[in-house]
């Protein structure tokens, strides 16, 4: 069960609209390495995770990702809410605007709709944790690319905060992987799948 907190994890106050920035940032809402996929990945994987500490890491990081989804959506909203139609046309936001006006919808920067095909829930503790570590790195790369494309410091501060969280999550998933491996046969980590083969 979840409850909502009327508070962003990090403050966001953008004073100037910027459709070009919004168009690339929205990929971290609904794109292949975005926060919606991140939340769904971890919150889906945790049910079959037999190590309670690791299930806790998946729950807590998955929950934080919901907060990041809210932050990315807030960025897109504040960057687009005051755009004029002339700016929308000049800055290439018309292809999004025609379908969604300035509403928030999960898609990749190139227009591809959000898809659960962008993440895995494999039902294997090692496979899922390697997936999670890779996912955090992919999101970190995406934030690095956004920092190359955006110049408003009000936006960059928020992106830098989100980027740093990817690094922290990568670290925690690495430790979670250690918890799983410590419990497995160190001569053959793959002797059985602890999420299915009950041999422990």
């Amino acid at each position: 069960m979840w409850t909502y907190e009327k508070m962003l994890q990090f403050p966001i106050k953008i004073s100037k609209p910027d459709a070009k920035a919004a168009k690339v940032i929205m990929t971290q809402f609904g794109g292949p390495d975005g926060e919606l996929g991140a939340a769904m990945r971890y919150l889906s994987q945790r049910y079959s995770m037999p190590y309670r500490k690791v299930a806790g890491v998946l729950t807590d990081i998955g929950t934080e990702e919901l907060g990041h989804m809210e932050m990315v959506s807030t960025l897109v909203w504040q960057l687009t809410r005051n755009l004029s139609v002339d700016q929308i046309k000049a800055e290439g936001y018309d292809t999004y605007f025609v379908d969604h006006t300035v509403g928030i919808w999960p898609q990749a920067a190139g227009g591809m709709p959000f898809s659960s095909a962008t993440f895995a829930s494999k039902g294997d503790a090692l496979t899922d944790l390697f997936e999670d570590m890779a996912a955090e790195q992919k999101a970190r790369t995406t934030y690095d690319n956004i920092l190359r494309l955006v110049d408003n410091p009000e936006v960059k501060d928020v992106i830098r905060f989100l980027r740093e969280r990817e690094i922290v999550h990568f670290q925690r998933f690495g430790e979670a992987l250690g918890i799983v491996q410590d419990d497995l046969n160190c001569k053959n980590f793959y002797a059985f799948n602890p999420e299915f083969d009950r041999k422990r």
Binding site: M1, R46, Y47, R52, K53, A55, G56, V57, T59, D60
Partner: protein
Amino acid sequence: MADNKSRLFAELQQVSFVLEDLNLYLDTHPEDASALRYYKHYQQLRQQLLEQYTMEFGPITADNVNIKNTWTWVEGPWPWEGEM
């Protein structure tokens, strides 16, 4: 003790649901005096039950963890294990 635990947990679950449902009602009826009184009553009851459950059996939310020598948030069953 197990009986007391499951009784207290069921009560907390029921009182929490009352508050969730009232929350929705009050969102669209923010001046309904009897609903507000009802909410206040259950708000206090949930707080009391939450404190009692947390002290005796462990945390329901991470920010309510009773801090001792170890972090107890990731101990004990998760809700989907079917043991709570």
